[in-house]
């Protein structure tokens, strides 16, 4: 698997090279780059399968590299030191990322995921989606990529009625009555969608307030949705949900 490593700090490049060499022998490092233009050149030259892309690169970003490329037919694993600019967008695009210092286990998992994608030749447009979302201010992000078994679905947030946990999986219930199973925990989506106004009413439920019809007082608190479904509100979430609904 041809790979290119992009990071503005040499020590990070060296470290990643060492770890990959030791733990991911299937990865062949074709080149490393420490700035955007070198990165674009290297990708054009080596047509890698996999790119490790640092997000913050001095004054520029890893996203700038992507913008400058006409073809983006490779897998990207973003690398970042801390939850900074863009990581939220990466999450919304359901793309993979690693945090520095790199956890070896996480690295192995990310590489094998990329390998799997390349092997099954799933063509995705997640990078296009990411770049689109990045054009907008963060508050206007209104779509999310959902990684399904064999495809990626882009769903408008206003289409989502609610999410329900099934252990480490999450069901999405859409306005068109579709039900999508995604292999990430509800907790992760709760963290993503709470800033978008979604309400965590219960350990197993995340609800789009747009579809809340009324608050039923039975059993300590139940939300009646416009779809007719009744969603429980657990005690720890009661105050927050009540307040959020009052402010609507």
């Amino acid at each position: 698997m041809r790979a290119i490593l992009i990071d503005d700090e040499n020590s990070n490049l060296e470290n990643l090279r060492t770890l990959l060499g030791k733990h991911c022998p299937q990865v062949t490092i074709m080149a490393t780059a420490q700035n955007v233009s070198d990165a674009v050149d290297a990708i054009g030259k080596y047509l890698p399968h996999l790119v490790f892309l640092d997000i913050q690169m001095g004054k520029q970003t890893g996203f700038d590299v992507l913008k400058l490329l006409p073809m983006r037919n490779f897998e990207v694993i973003f690398v970042t030191a801390y939850d900074q600019y863009g990581i939220q967008a990466v999450k919304f695009a359901a793309l993979d990322y690693l945090l520095k210092p790199i956890d070896i286990e996480e690295l192995i998992i990310a590489v094998s995921k990329a390998e799997h994608k390349l092997a099954t030749q799933i063509q995705t447009s997640q990078l296009d989606f990411l770049l689109q979302q990045l054009k907008k201010p963060e508050t206007n992000v209104n779509k999310i990529a959902l990684q399904m078994q064999s495809e990626i679905r882009y769903v408008t947030l206003s289409e989502i009625i609610r999410c329900e946990a099934d252990n480490t999986y999450t069901y999405f219930f859409l306005a068109n009555t579709e039900k999508i199973l995604v292999s990430k925990s509800l907790k992760e989506y709760a963290d993503l969608l709470r800033p978008k106004g979604f309400l965590r009413t219960h350990q197993s439920h995340l609800v789009n307030p747009k579809y809340v019809k009324s608050w039923l007082k039975e059993d300590g608190g139940i939300l009646l949705l416009t779809s007719g479904e009744k969603i429980p509100v657990s005690k720890p979430n009661k105050e927050t949900v009540k307040q959020a609904l009052q402010q609507l």
Partner: protein, 538 residues
């Protein structure tokens, strides 16, 4: 004029110039009621003739205040048998002619050019100034049908109210209370039991001339009118019956000023040469003011409706105002609550952010040791753990899932294991959904840190820490147990972590009102067990 007379009394001839008699120029003729005409001198003014009154079908009243003499003629149709007629004349109620027949020899044909010819004779000429002449005429065939004509030469006296009386209900029936000779302005109080007002007028020969009305002075509306008088029950000093009129209490709807007006029912403009000013007329009118206070006000339907609406509106607007302020207050309360909560959250964050620096740097030292021992993989492993721990502190997330908490505790304890060779175990109820149940982040870390520090750090490899996540009905119970030497629970605040935990729990309790965070601490020389219960959390 002629035409009118003719039209009104078709069997009389109207125009008739009486010859001058006794030097009086009787040049003006009017009908006088019954079969009579009267003539008055041409210079006489204000001749109010043939006035009729309610309930007095056969009485005709002629008011002649400025006439000196009057000549009275009787007229008969040609086909009427004049022999049957008798007449009586009274001057000031004293008879001067009684039941006299018509002197047929004196009857003359009167032809004024109309189709019908009447026969007429003069009954007499009388001085009328300051006097009253009354004629009574009937046919012996119908002796009950007496036509009465009154020629009133005196000023009509002003009526006077002799008494006002209130009728009120008693146990036995009714009784009356009186105000005799009331003043022109009289206060009158109507209690609930009072039900009727009676106005007693002074008696006169011509009571029928007067009528009574009551005006509401606030609205200037006449609320009561009566042309009839009752008799019986009230007698005056000369034992004559006094006329009275009864007025239901309900006529007076509200407290306030009312005017009783008693005046002659004279058509002041229906006369010869009427030249009587309103001021003159006023002289005939009696006015009394009643200042009425009602125990219970009566209201008309319209007023009731208006009052109801006003009351409803007032209540409604008061309600709205209250609602508005309530809402405002609630909003303010809510805002205050929110603010308090935010403050609590901020305080919570600041408490949460404190990871023991002692631990941080010791952990880094441990990693350094691994590097120096060339244990690269271990160094990597612990570095990742260290990064995850510090990242979690920096992330400042309010809530993390139980599985995240478990990972963090694993990370932490494994790092501590580098320093102290104890054993630990994290177990949880099978039915706990670790991935999705959230708890405030770094909730247990201070207790675990305490267990390491005070519990097992001295015991080295014999030390053991057990952490459990247990589901108890709806409660989530988290415990940390160690087999260390224990510590004095009374002086439990000897570690910074525990001190912070205490205030943190207080803050959490203020944020999660529906749940309770309770901490139980048991410590002995055999070990310490802390148990943190989150009630109704699941």
């Amino acid at each position: 004029m002629k035409k009118i007379i003719f039209l009104f009394l078709s069997f009389f001839i109207s125009v008739f110039i009486v010859n001058a008699q006794k030097g009086i120029n009787f040049s003006r003729t009017s009908m006088a009621g019954g079969k009579l005409l009267m003539c008055v001198d041409s210079s006489a003014k204000n001749v109010f003739y043939a006035q009729m009154f309610p309930n007095q079908p056969r009485t005709s009243f002629n008011y002649l205040p400025e006439v000196n003499d009057v000549s009275i003629q009787i007229y008969f149709r040609k086909n009427i048998n004049t022999q049957h007629f008798r007449y009586t004349i009274l001057a000031d109620n004293k008879p001067i002619v009684v039941n006299k027949s018509i002197d047929r020899t004196q009857l003359k044909d009167v032809d004024r050019g109309d189709e019908e010819v009447f026969r007429s004779t003069t009954l007499g000429v009388f001085p009328i100034k300051g006097k009253t002449i009354t004629t009574l005429i009937y046919s012996i065939e119908k002796p009950l049908d007496i036509d009465k004509a009154v020629f009133y030469g005196k000023p009509i006296p002003r009526a006077r109210i002799k008494a006002l009386s209130k009728r009120f209900a008693t146990d036995k029936g009714v009784d009356y209370s009186y105000i005799t000779d009331p003043k022109e302005k009289t206060n009158l109080f109507f209690a609930e039991k009072d039900n009727e007002l009676t106005i007693v007028k002074d008696r006169s020969d011509i009571d029928y001339v007067y009528y009574t009305s009551i005006k509401d002075k606030q609205t200037n509306k006449i609320i009561f009118e009566s042309t009839a008088w009752n008799y019986g029950g009230y007698v005056d000093e000369s034992h004559e019956l006094s006329p009275y009129v009864k007025i239901d209490k309900n006529v007076f709807k509200k407290s306030g000023d009312y005017e009783i007006i008693i005046q002659p029912l004279i058509k002041w403009n229906g006369c010869h040469d009427c030249d009587i000013s309103p001021k003159e007329i006023e002289k005939y009118i009696t006015r009394y003011t009643l200042v009425i206070s009602l125990d219970k006000e009566n209201y008309t339907k319209k007023e009731l409706l208006i009052y109801t609406l006003i009351v409803a509106f007032s209540i409604g607007s008061a309600f709205l105002v209250i609602l508005y302020f309530n809402k405002k207050r609630n909003k303010k309360k809510l805002a205050e609550k929110e603010q308090q909560k935010n403050i609590a959250k901020l305080q919570l964050n600041s408490i949460r952010s404190q990871l023991n620096p002692h631990f941080l740097f010791n952990a880094l030292s441990g990693i350094q040791n691994l590097m120096n021992k060339n244990e690269i993989d271990n160094a990597n492993k612990y570095l990742s753990k260290f990064a995850r721990l510090t990242r979690n502190v920096l992330d400042d997330k309010e809530l993390i899932s139980l599985s995240q908490e478990k990972t963090l505790l694993d990370d932490y304890l494994q790092m501590e294991q580098l320093r102290f060779g104890f054993k630990y175990e994290i177990i949880h109820s099978e039915d706990l959904d670790l991935a999705n149940i959230e708890i405030p982040s770094m909730l247990l870390q201070p207790f675990v840190e305490n267990a390491v520090k005070h519990g097992i750090s001295q015991k080295a490899t014999d030390g053991k820490i057990m952490i459990t996540f247990i589901k108890q009905a709806n409660d989530l119970v988290l415990t940390v147990t160690d087999n260390g030497n224990g510590f004095d629970t009374e002086k439990k605040h000897n570690g910074l972590g525990l001190l912070l935990s205490d205030s943190r729990l207080a803050l959490l309790n203020s944020i999660y009102k529906e749940n309770r965070f309770t901490l139980d601490l048991q410590s002995s020389t055999n070990g310490t067990k802390i148990s943190l219960a989150l009630t109704d959390w699941l």
